[in-house]
Amino acid sequence: MLLLGKIALGMTGVVFAGAGVICSEGFVQVKVIQKQADGHHINVIAPAVLGPIAAHFVPARNLDDASRQIRPYLPLIDTTLDALRQADDIVLVDVREPGEHVQVMKSGGSIVVDVDDPNETVHVSAPLRAISGTVDQLASAAGLQ
């Protein structure tokens, strides 16, 4: 009985540690609300650490083209993400038109894009570290980095 208890405790510890690792990079959120009467409400929240991991497991031949395209811009992307990480929270771009509003902001270590137009509301939030990791995985996919 005592042994079973120890096993259960160990497994619980592993689960919590795993959850901790998965949550350590934050979460990517994509939320789309269509404003039509029969419109869809989509809300996806995924651990950001899955981005680089998923990119790692995609066959290299499928990422070859994207990898080649992104490679020249890698120093710029890395520098931009690094500068954004060090910047305070800020609304970088705010565009308003009648019935439409677009915001791009840096908030708590994430890039957040909010779009509100007459048809739908879109909210995308992605941690900068996860974007950086995914881009690095993408760039190195074809062994070019």
Partner: protein, 193 residues
């Protein structure tokens, strides 16, 4: 009674000193400067606000290498300057005292280019159809930084951004016409409000 008042004053002074000491690092830490661009079209009800921390722009700019922009510098081609030595002109302007360099007054248009309080200022007023005005103010330190590179045909935009960060709150560009307003300025607030 007097001693009690004195004691109270001393206690309050010490408290105030402690509060200021504690708050000082917080104020010192937030020394970030921001470049703001605001475009408003009141007739159409449209607006665009762009806010960029200058430190971020300083880091990103040297990473952009595309055509004439490289390592934070822009190359301008002497052939396009029609033989005008821009560096010599700016050197002359820099060493000149505050002065009106160009004043054009026409029936429907006024143009003024001057050096004022160490800034280069350009004012254009167009009284045709719709009243239009353009005001540009560029601190001389920014212009000096722009031309601080050793190469004759380069402008050091990254150095200009650094110089801009060292200036006080500065309204760089304002454009007004019948419906649109454009403002470009630098301050220490992260929002454009």
């Amino acid at each position: 009674m007097r001693k009690r008042l004195q004691a109270t004053a001393v206690v309050f002074s010490l408290l105030a000193g402690a509060v200021i000491s504690a708050a000082a690092p917080a104020f010192a830490a937030s020394g970030e400067r921001y470049l703001h661009v605001k475009v408003q079209d009141e007739q159409k009800g449209e607006s665009v606000n762009i806010n960029v921390p200058l430190s971020m722009a300083e880091k990103i700019l040297p990473a952009i290498n595309n055509k004439d922009l490289h390592n934070g510098c822009v190359t301008f081609h002497q052939a396009e300057m029609n033989g005008v030595d821009v560096r010599a002109i700016l050197d002359a302007v820099r060493t000149a005292p505050d002065n009106e360099f160009v004043t054009v007054n026409e029936k429907n248009q006024n143009v003024r280019v001057a050096k004022s309080n160490g800034d280069i200022v350009v004012h254009v007023r167009d009284h045709n159809n719709h009243e239009q005005s353009v005001d540009v103010t560029v601190p001389m330190t920014v212009i000096n930084a722009l031309f601080s590179t050793a190469k004759q045909d380069e402008l050091d935009v990254a150095a200009a951004l650094r110089a801009l960060g060292d200036t006080g709150n500065t309204l760089l560009v304002t454009v007004h016409d019948a419906s649109q307003n454009v403002r470009v300025w630098v301050d220490s607030q992260s929002t454009a409000n």
